[in-house]
Symmetry: C2
Amino acid sequence: MPPKTHLPKRPHIEKHFTSGEVVRDIVIGMADGLTVPFALAAGLSGAVESSSIIVTAGLAEIVAGSIAMGLGGYLAGKSDVEHYDSEYKREIYEIEKLLDHEKDEVMEILEGYGLTRTESTPIVDSLAARPKDFADFMMRFELGLEKPEPKRAMRSGATIGAAYIVGGLIPLAPYIIFVQAHRGLLWSVLITIVALFTFGYVKGTFTGTKAVKSGFQTCLIGSLAAAVAFVIARLISS
Amino acid sequence: MPPKTHLPKRPHIEKHFTSGEVVRDIVIGMADGLTVPFALAAGLSGAVESSSIIVTAGLAEIVAGSIAMGLGGYLAGKSDVEHYDSEYKREIYEIEKLLDHEKDEVMEILEGYGLTRTESTPIVDSLAARPKDFADFMMRFELGLEKPEPKRAMRSGATIGAAYIVGGLIPLAPYIIFVQAHRGLLWSVLITIVALFTFGYVKGTFTGTKAVKSGFQTCLIGSLAAAVAFVIARLISS
């Protein structure tokens, strides 16, 4: 892995590499957690009068969604590790058995950046003398792969799942409090719009997009999903 | 962008770069589409007798999920493009204004692969003479970013959303056919287990993990989510 050097004037890159992965997992889980249970509950309130069935469906959805996304994230993390390892072994193998071909590959890649063979030769020869460094170089440069941290998969899955639950309970809370579905819907819409905007805004500041724009976009997704779900559920049940 | 050279004996890499993005989008949409509506419907069938409310909730969920995931995928794609462009402008700016510092950065990165300053100098000087190539090199090597295709965002969002709908209708179909929820559940479990295994198997062959293992893992996620949702819904409604 190349050392990561940062200028103080590049705060977003520093952010990108330090808090990046946990934030990314929270964003993944919470984006869907805020949106889908919200839209499902809103949709059902277009079809039923009592909020009890909405709470049951909503909690079932939150459980299902958090397990699906959490376990999905865990397995994706594990498969990243396996993918990296198998590609790494392949690189090592090719460097041992097909060294000239691998050297040509690096030459061609560097030619893509306008470097001549004469300019590239010292680097390629130097890498060829150290197979491990050569393999690291190819992983990054030919395949664009970053070494994943093995312990990350479990943490990533748990973070995504928990964020989904937290996100999902926000739109559902009013239906737990109010017996009539339409009252639950009203409060759910109000607090979820605020939550979606806040979430989008914070997400925007972390990812480097414009915060207000990100807030509105996140609101739009949630509202559109909820509105269409409402119309569909009302059409089916009428 | 470096030219991508492939050996015939590296079929998985070729796959990775050609069909990769559409497959990835279908996998993202269908994994959740098969799992969450399945688990929600199974959960509700632990709480209600008639399948009509399950169909309403299921379709509302499919609509909500496909919009949330599809629009989410679209916006993520768009923000990738914006992120790449803003980082690229920053690199160009830094190369123009802080050339020596950027050259040092490349030197340090290459030192991480065991290259000496003498070995790296020809490449660094050559890149420094061509700002565009230098910026491309830094994007790939310092930041690990690949230039995203601008038109991909829309296609990606549509693919994810459509895959979610297709996936979601499979577990829901039996509830549309059978009036009694427990009959719908039985058939839903049967066809969804088959669908999850098939999906996981095909996904495994595309991503290079072991196909059978991938099939079982996908089944496990869906079944676990459905079982827990069933238990939760039954506990709430009793």
